[in-house]
Each structure stands twice: as structure tokens, then as C-alpha cells.
């Protein structure tokens, strides 16, 4: 049977680079003996891991904001600059079911009169978001 030398060479190289059987203490000892400042390396690794986690959180938050921005205005149109009367009119239209049963249900037990303009605007935006179910 002929030898598959490519496979044999690969197996040999893999065998010596395979360190899955080594414990942290073994690795620390080996690297120290090879002149590596293991503590410096590990503190850099810790910092890289923390930085990665923070980047991940920032990315998730940016994606959530982008999603919210896309949803904004899909139900009531742009709420920016709308007068109080216009905002209350939207609320009443929603209460009356002009924007669907979901929006109508969400207006129940809510007094628009008790909210200031910004709160009313923000509440209508919340309804949009919740109504989209995303």
C-alpha cells in the first residue's frame, strides 16, 4: 500500500502544534521558558476581551437604534413639530380604532390630557414600536 505523504506530513505537523492536552500551568511554564512575559501577555488578552465585549454592546445598541429609527413614523407619520392639538387628535383617532385594534387597545386607560407634548410624542412613538411588534 502506498503512503499518502501529504497526509503523513500534515499529521506530523498537526501533532506537534496540537497543545489541547496541555494545562494552563504547562503552557505558562513552556512559554516562560521560551522567554515570553506571560503576565504581560495575559493582561493584554484580558484587555482585548473586555474591549471586544464593549464593542459588541455598542454595536447591539447602534443596531437597536437603527431599527427604532426605521420603525419611527410608520404608523403616525413624523411627530416632530406637531402641535399639541395634532398630537391629541392622533391619540383620539387611535382610541377610535383608526390605526387598528392594536393601537386602540394600547390607548385604553391612558389619559392624553395628563401628558405634556414631549411625553405624548414619546408615548405615540412607543405605540408605533410596540404595534410593529419588533
Amino acid at each position: 500500500m502506498s503512503t499518502d505523504y501529504r497526509k503523513a506530513a500534515k499529521n506530523l505537523r498537526d501533532a506537534v502544534s496540537n497543545n489541547s492536552h496541555m494545562s494552563a500551568a504547562d503552557l505558562r511554564k513552556k512559554l516562560s521558558e521560551e522567554g515570553v512575559d506571560v503576565d504581560v501577555f495575559l493582561s493584554r488578552a484580558d484587555a482585548a476581551f473586555r474591549k471586544g465585549l464593549q464593542e459588541g454592546i455598542r454595536q447591539q445598541s447602534a443596531q437597536a437604534k437603527a431599527r427604532a429609527a426605521v420603525l419611527k413614523g410608520t404608523l403616525f407619520g413624523s411627530l416632530v413639530g406637531k402641535s399639541r392639538e395634532a398630537l391629541i387628535a392622533l391619540y383620539e383617532a387611535a382610541t377610535a380604532g383608526h390605526y387598528g385594534s392594536e393601537a386602540m387597545a394600547r390607548c385604553r386607560n391612558k389619559s392624553a390630557e395628563a401628558l405634556n407634548d414631549d411625553e405624548l410624542r414619546s408615548w405615540l412613538e412607543d405605540i408605533e414600536r410596540l404595534n410593529s411588534g419588533k
Partner: protein, 191 residues
């Protein structure tokens, strides 16, 4: 789940063990000499830190179907290969796709893996294996020869080589260190 592995890495001891293993792997892969640099003034430590950062941020998702550590080693290997292939590559811009099949060969990138031609690569491998088998240290120590044969036949770790040959595991660990030196000598011989 990939998220569970991130939780695992949040534990200091677990994370440090993985980091050490990846760093050792990167150095072994390159037959690393201190003060040597990869293209762009990068060293194996930077590559390992980049892999850790990518996994922690979720920029690179891990595939649940394969062992996580093997995937991390694959990323290390892939990034190193690409650094050699494209010497102006920036470390944080090197793509390592989740579904990347058959990472570029580091040996080829380092110019020690023979040519692209399958025939020549086979010839290169044959010469490589024969030089290892006929190395003076191997000829002098039949047990070392048996361990090498066990690896050639597919033993992946010292425990398997020990089971295959009946040689005590601690002795196999010592042979592994000898084998590492032999491979480095043979690689240098073949450049």
C-alpha cells in the same frame, strides 16, 4: 451555543487558558523566534488578541457544530496566512468568514510548503517525511521512531500515541519536544 462560550470566556481562568493555548499554537505554527515580526510589524501575540476581540464582540460568530477552540485556532491560522498573502493587510480588516472552508495553508504562505502543483506538493511532503524518518535522532532511538509512526498514522495527541505504541505518556511528551526540534531542522533544511 456560541453565547455560552462567551460566558465561559468571562471566567478569568478559562479565558487565560484559552489565550495561552492560542498563543502557543500561533508560535508553534510559525516556528517563532523572539524579535521576529510578521508582515506589518505584527507578532503572534497581536493575532491572538485580535481573535479574542472578534469573538468577544460577536464580530465573528462561532459555529456550534465544531469545537470552539478548534475554530479559534483556525482563525489564528487563517489570519496569519492572509498576513503573508497580502503584506499590506491591516490586522483588524482581515476577513475570516464563518463558512470559510479549507483555510489557506500557512506552510504555503511561509514559502515552506512546496508549490501549488499537487504533484510537487506530494513530492515535497514525501521528502519532508523521509527526512524526519531518517533523522539521526530517530535512527538512534527506535521508540521515537514508533511515536513518529503513530502520528503519521493519525494519532492526534500524545495520549493516543502512547496507547498506540505502549510507550509511557511522559516519555511521549519528551519525544514530542524532540520531534518539534526535528521538524524545525527539517523545515530549515528544505527552504
Amino acid at each position: 451555543m456560541s453565547d455560552e462560550y462567551i460566558e465561559y470566556l468571562k471566567d478569568d481562568e478559562s479565558r487565560q487558558e484559552v489565550a495561552l493555548r492560542l498563543f502557543d499554537y500561533a508560535r508553534e505554527l510559525l516556528n517563532w523566534q523572539e524579535h521576529q515580526m510578521l508582515p506589518g510589524g505584527i507578532d503572534p501575540q497581536d493575532v491572538v488578541l485580535e481573535v479574542i476581540k472578534r469573538v468577544a464582540s460577536g464580530k465573528r460568530k462561532l459555529n456550534d457544530r465544531f469545537p470552539y477552540e478548534a475554530q479559534l485556532k483556525g482563525m489564528v491560522k487563517s489570519i496569519i496566512s492572509k498576513l503573508f498573502e497580502k503584506t499590506d493587510a491591516q490586522l483588524d480588516n482581515i476577513p475570516v468568514d464563518e463558512d470559510e472552508v479549507g483555510y489557506a495553508k500557512v506552510e504555503k504562505a511561509l514559502g515552506v510548503g512546496g508549490s501549488d502543483s499537487a504533484f510537487e506538493a506530494a513530492e515535497y511532503s514525501e521528502r519532508f517525511v523521509k527526512l524526519v524518518e531518517n533523522h539521526p535522532k530517530v535512527e538512534k532511538d527506535p521508540d521515537l521512531g514508533l511515536v513518529i509512526l503513530a502520528y503519521i498514522d493519525g494519532a492526534r495527541v500524545p495520549r493516543e500515541a502512547a496507547e498506540e505504541t505502549g510507550i509511557p505518556i511522559n516519555r511521549v511528551y519528551e519525544y514530542n519536544r524532540s520531534l518539534q526540534k526535528i521538524l524545525n531542522e527539517v523545515k530549515a533544511q528544505m527552504k
